[in-house]
């Protein structure tokens, strides 16, 4: 990981994103649509890791807020990514709070059983990593590790930005991301040979 890998994809779009946000702030709705298309996939992946199948609805709410408050935002493309991620996270946490009384229906077991447990080679295991499987793996991490990994890998935030989104110190977030990735790597390596993958799936420690 380090500074290079996590946000290389995102950085490639940040120039374009920053320009689109600047034009959108002047009232250009087409530019706002461009920004939406650039940011939404990452945010959706992140929120999906938090709330599962309700991610689309949560992001719908988040975009309403983003659209409303865009005039308040100050910053460049990378900053917009972090700002939008903060809003999405708040909406996701609100959603989880509302849902606490009725836990979401879990499809974890089925997904785990569908794991490519019989795969004998690494390549096959990797190719078979579906979105659902990846989400379940990330969902099996403690919340702080999962969020750190998702913000870094999926949303493309750098360390300080991810720390600001999470309201934590950059060092703590870096450590959490490192531990989360390490644990995921271990699980993937183990799963490709045996079914004894850790099944501590859940969303918190």
């Amino acid at each position: 990981m380090g500074h290079g890998g996590e946000s290389r994809r995102a950085q490639a779009y940040d120039g374009e994103l920053g320009a689109a946000v600047a034009r959108a702030q002047k009232g250009d709705e087409a530019a706002f649509a461009v920004a939406y298309r650039l940011v939404q996939p990452g945010l959706l992946g992140y929120v999906r890791g938090l709330v599962g199948d309700d991610a689309e609805d949560v992001m719908s709410d988040a975009w309403l807020e983003i659209a409303r408050d865009l005039g308040r935002f100050k910053g460049d493309g990378a900053g917009f990514r972090g700002w939008a991620a903060t809003i999405a996270r708040h909406r996701a946490l609100d959603h989880l709070r509302r849902q606490r009384v009725r836990p979401r229906a879990s499809t974890i077991e089925q997904d785990v059983l569908d794991l490519p447990g019989a795969q004998s080679t690494y390549e096959q295991a990797m190719e078979a990593l579906s979105t659902e499987h990846a989400l379940e793996l990330v969902g099996g991490l403690p919340r702080d590790q999962a969020e750190a990994v998702l913000l870094r890998v999926v949303v493309g935030l750098d360390g300080p930005a991810a720390a600001r989104v999470l309201g934590k110190r950059p060092g703590a977030v870096r450590t959490a991301a490192h531990r989360g990735l390490k644990r995921l790597a271990k699980q993937l390596g183990a799963e490709s040979v045996t079914d004894e993958a850790p099944r501590t799936l859940g969303e918190s420690t």
Binding site: M1, G2, H3, G4, G5, E6, A24, G27, F32, A33, Y36, R37, Q40, P41, G45, G49, E56, M59, S60, W63, L64, I66, A67, R68, D69, L70, G71, R72, F73, K74, G75, A78, G79, F80, G82, W83, T86, Y122, A125, L129, S130, T131, A134, L135, V138, V149, L150, V153, V154, P160, A161, H178, L181, K182, L184, A185, L188, G189, A190, V193
Partner: protein, 311 residues
């Protein structure tokens, strides 16, 4: 920061690379145990590919754009930027750092200045005591000349204490000697001791005359290093007590000040105003500065005293 993970029996065997460098051999490779290892760089790529899969839902995009247009039409985009909306990373990072630096500098400054002030106070009292006690008993309180208007030094914490504290002859002599040395340079003349001397003389322009008067009565003192050429000018006043002379000279000069009409009072005022610039440390520095003055005077003049004084 890559890692090669092998089976449980060798869990302790790991390789950690410096951040940002993922060597080629860190990529997944078959491990002798038959289990593949997963590199974190590949894992990130893999996760991103898996989780970013899928396009954008057109309906959701349309709703978001519609909300944007509605907000634009309603003028919501003119809202003020809150702290959480400011993501200009450079400025924030700088601000956080400078805030931390400012706080630590403040704490360190307070600590060190507290130690320094305490130390000066100790040193000053030790120097002050013996030099001043024998003589100050002769001088009734309140005989010091009227001070220049207090408004000149509004923050001067030790102003009242200075007025109550009798000026001693030793102080004055020492100050006069030091005054000639430092006059015109540095900020030494801003110190409380000089302010007191200026007050005693009745103004900055009278300090020379005042010191001359002081030097006259010390003229007969052998070895006096102060005020050459003045020391023998008027020897007839040398017979009286030192404290009495101090009062005479002080009150006389103070009385003369308003009559001189040559800007003595304004000059004195400005001198005091300069002293006010020092007021930040004057609350506790008044006595230390005094003590320092005594110390300097003592080194210059005291050796001659046992023989020539104390009639």
């Amino acid at each position: 920061m890559g890692e090669r993970q092998s089976d449980g029996g060798q869990a302790g065997r790991r390789r950690v690379h410096p951040e940002g460098t993922v060597p080629a051999q860190d990529r997944p490779a078959p491990v002798p145990g038959g289990r593949p290892a997963v590199g974190t760089a590949d894992l990130e790529t893999l996760l991103a590919a898996a989780l970013l899969r899928g396009g954008v839902d057109a309906g959701a995009e349309q709703r978001a754009v519609a909300a944007f247009v509605a907000a634009r039409e309603s003028g919501a985009h003119g809202a003020r930027t809150r702290r959480r909306d400011d993501w200009r990373a450079r400025r924030r990072r700088l601000g956080g750092r400078s805030l931390k630096a400012t706080l630590s500098a403040l704490v360190a400054g307070l600590t060190l200045s507290g130690v320094a002030v305490a130390g000066i106070g100790v040193a000053g009292s030790s120097t002050d005591g013996p030099a001043e006690d024998p003589k100050s008993t002769h001088v009734p309180p309140g005989t010091t000349p009227p001070a220049t208007p207090k408004s000149a030094a509004p923050d001067h914490g030790s102003g009242g204490r200075d007025a109550d504290r009798p000026a001693t002859a030793g102080d004055t002599e020492a100050h006069c000697r030091a005054y000639e040395k430092v006059e015109g340079r540095g900020k030494a003349l801003d110190a409380t001791a000089w302010k007191r001397l200026t007050e005693a003389a009745g103004g900055a322009s009278h300090v020379d005359a005042y010191c001359a008067g002081r030097a006259e009565q010390d003229g007969e003192r052998p070895g006096s290093t102060g005020a050459p050429g003045r020391s023998t000018a008027v020897p007839d006043r040398s017979g009286s007590g030192s404290s009495g002379n101090a009062n005479d000279a002080a009150s006389g000069n103070a009385g003369d000040a308003p009559d001189s009409g040559t800007g003595g009072e304004p000059a004195g005022g400005s001198g005091n105003a300069d002293g006010a610039g020092n007021a930040g440390s004057a609350g506790s520095a008044g006595n230390p500065a005094d003590g320092a003055g005594n110390g300097a005077g003592g080194s210059a003049g005291r050796p001659a005293e046992p023989g020539g004084r104390n009639p």
